[in-house]
Symmetry: C2
Subunit: 397 residues, 2 copies
């Protein structure tokens, strides 16, 4: 095999990690990349941070999710950049270099699965694995004009992957067509599951929360889906407001991140890039009462939203309230953006639901995605529904 030319800086610097397929299968002829928080035997797992790389030996085993893809015929072409410890949404990595957003070169690619999104968007690979805690697949997919999925909580193995906030962490993947997105699901997702469709639920406050240009860019797609799939109902998901959801999400995430990674952070001289170190410092100092309130809020959200989706309904809303921020965006503006974005991504993260983003529109030339979210466990049905939706919207199927 010959190394591919990394035109966008998607891959982790250093020797490229490549593996031949282990057998012929339904992914024969496809090549893929994997976010550098999944292990590949013999290679370092940097987790996006030089001090992590320095303090952890190369992986002894390969993550089963990677092996499963190799056994179905796919070829691994490299490990992709991640935001340090997956704790950030812009896709910036000052140590490895921030990958280019191939669809909007003056903007961030989104993160934390930035390299995976960039590699797929640039056509370097057919698909890529990422991971998603609070939007780390959905946001770079939206920002880079890709199909992306965050599966149901617990649906796909995270063995051989580094944690961030375990009760929210899921693997996820990116592709340029709804069909390939679904084919990967055939390999990785649990068998069975119930159907979706029939009724679309328009999440009103998420549409109102989006900047007007985003809502504008996505509304024609919403209308086409409404025409095609019949009944649409406007719903309010969070009477408390998206900002409240963000505050609670970030508290629960911080408690889990400190439980999962605090030991390493506290015992290691870690240099972090902008923002990441501050988030760990805040996690370390956080009042436990905030996490308590956040966990209680999560239970209320689950109790409210799961029944809403139990009959197979599909929520539809803008994946992100805005397109990718410009590379010139400063830290303060990034924090505002983070709050606005994560009030939305918290929906699926809180309820453990599968969410698929479709590359539906552009704003000022930059991609914006439309999300479909279903009840936990309906991942396969949602992938099939997304494929139908893509056909209706004239997107690659």
């Amino acid at each position: 095999m010959s190394a591919i030319n990394d035109t966008v800086g998607a891959f982790v610097p250093g020797a490229r990690v490549e593996l031949d397929p282990l057998a012929a299968g339904r992914l024969s002829g496809r090549d893929f990349a994997v976010k550098d928080l999944f292990d590949v035997a013999g290679a370092p797992t940097t987790y996006g941070n030089p001090d992590w790389a320095r303090t952890h030996p190369p992986a002894v085993a390969t993550a089963p999710i990677v092996t499963a893809l190799l056994q179905e015929g796919a070829r691994l072409r490299g490990k992709t950049k991640t935001v340090e410890l997956a704790y950030g949404l812009t896709g910036e990595n000052v140590w490895h270099g921030t990958p280019l957003n191939p669809r909007a070169p003056n903007r961030f690619p989104g993160g934390s699965s930035c390299g995976s999104a960039a590699a797929v968007a640039a056509g370097l690979v057919d698909f890529a694995l990422g991971s998603d805690t609070g939007g780390s697949v959905r946001i770079p997919a939206s920002f880079c004009g890709l199909f992306g999925i965050r599966p149901s909580a617990g649906a796909v193995s995270l063995a051989g992957a580094r944690p961030l906030a375990p009760s929210f962490d899921t693997p996820g993947w990116f592709a340029r067509s709804a069909g390939l997105l679904a084919e990967i699901g055939e390999v990785l997702l649990p068998g069975g599951g119930e159907s979706v469709g029939g009724v679309l639920l328009r999440a009103e406050e998420v549409w109102m929360n989006a900047i007007p240009e985003v809502a504008e860019a996505l509304r024609p797609a919403l209308e086409l889906l409404e025409d095609r799939f019949g009944r649409t109902i406007g719903v309010r998901l969070m009477p408390e407001g998206l900002d409240t959801a963000y505050d609670h999400f970030r508290a629960v995430q911080a408690e889990e991140a400190w439980a999962a990674l605090g030991g390493w952070v506290a015992s290691t001289e870690v240099r972090f890039g902008p923002g990441v170190g501050e988030r760990f410092a805040a996690a370390r100092e956080m009042d436990p009462a905030l996490a308590y309130a956040g966990r209680a809020f999560r239970r209320r959200m689950q109790a409210r939203l799961r029944p809403m989706l139990a009959g197979g309904a599909v929520l539809v809303y803008p994946t992100s309230p805005c397109p990718a921020p410009l590379l010139s965006t400063n830290q303060e503006e990034q924090a505002e953006l983070r709050a606005a974005v994560m009030g939305v991504t918290a929906i699926a993260s809180f309820i453990g639901a599968p969410e698929i983003t479709l590359p539906v529109g552009t704003v000022a030339g930059a991609p914006v995605g439309l999300s479909l979210t279903a009840a936990p466990g309906r991942d396969r049905a949602l992938l099939a529904f997304a494929r139908e939706a893509a056909a209706v919207l004239n997107l690659p199927v």
Copy 2:
């Protein structure tokens, strides 16, 4: 607070880890213990093995699941023994000493959450946290005459817990009454969820797989439940046979265990007690084709069983085909036992379903449990159903 007297050897040797409640709440007045694979800030997490303890510093953060219980008024009374790296079912630990089975002192307590089961069965605490990958809560609960639950995959956070086979790992808990088991669920489980009941599914091959004395001891309870809850249907879950399920389970578990822990095992001079080292050695050498077949089998099981349970049906079957083995059981006999037991525990593990065991009968004076298993996500409803069942069966509610 005063340290309680550990009459059964349930707690990890050394200084007792105790914590006062953080607030008053619905668990005020209850005390609990936690399996020593969950972190408590400032204390070592031994994971049942002296070399693990030696190579890992004391925990920096407390697992959120522990904090959540303290915040609801519960008092932590200690960390309990576990089988080394949670990789075993008898409950033996040659380094820390195998806990006594308070209900059958000449028999093993069951594992891997052996100390938690022993502590609750001996009345040292009101409830205890364990974890379950392939039976590590359900089996000691059955062997020690306790209520025990393995929740749905992904339902309860494992942040701050050590992994064994991440796609199967769940927390779990033990109590002496169905009511307390459910109250803990109110604190830890996701909100909402659908109902269960109406139809009982008698898993025929599991009843046939049980030794006759166990089936005999549990049948009166089955009949009482059938009378009370109406319709019962006999079903076959695994045409391939329980032995096949065990073989596939063990392959997938081994792949994940090596992905999760192989790095530490390979880089550390680890001394293991009987059986555990052999299992890691086998995991290291395992043919990847076996894991591939195991993952495919899991998808088929999910596709077969999830629709069976989608309407709210509850599977009912013996938790274990036998009571706890005698302490004199040798390694070869233990391996046979392991195969027979895990063909049954693999059912819920494979489909990610919640399973509750009820302390229903005895065989030669040793406890045996009856299991209720529902569709993934129906944990709260299953706990309510188990409470009703306990009332019908004259068990502590």
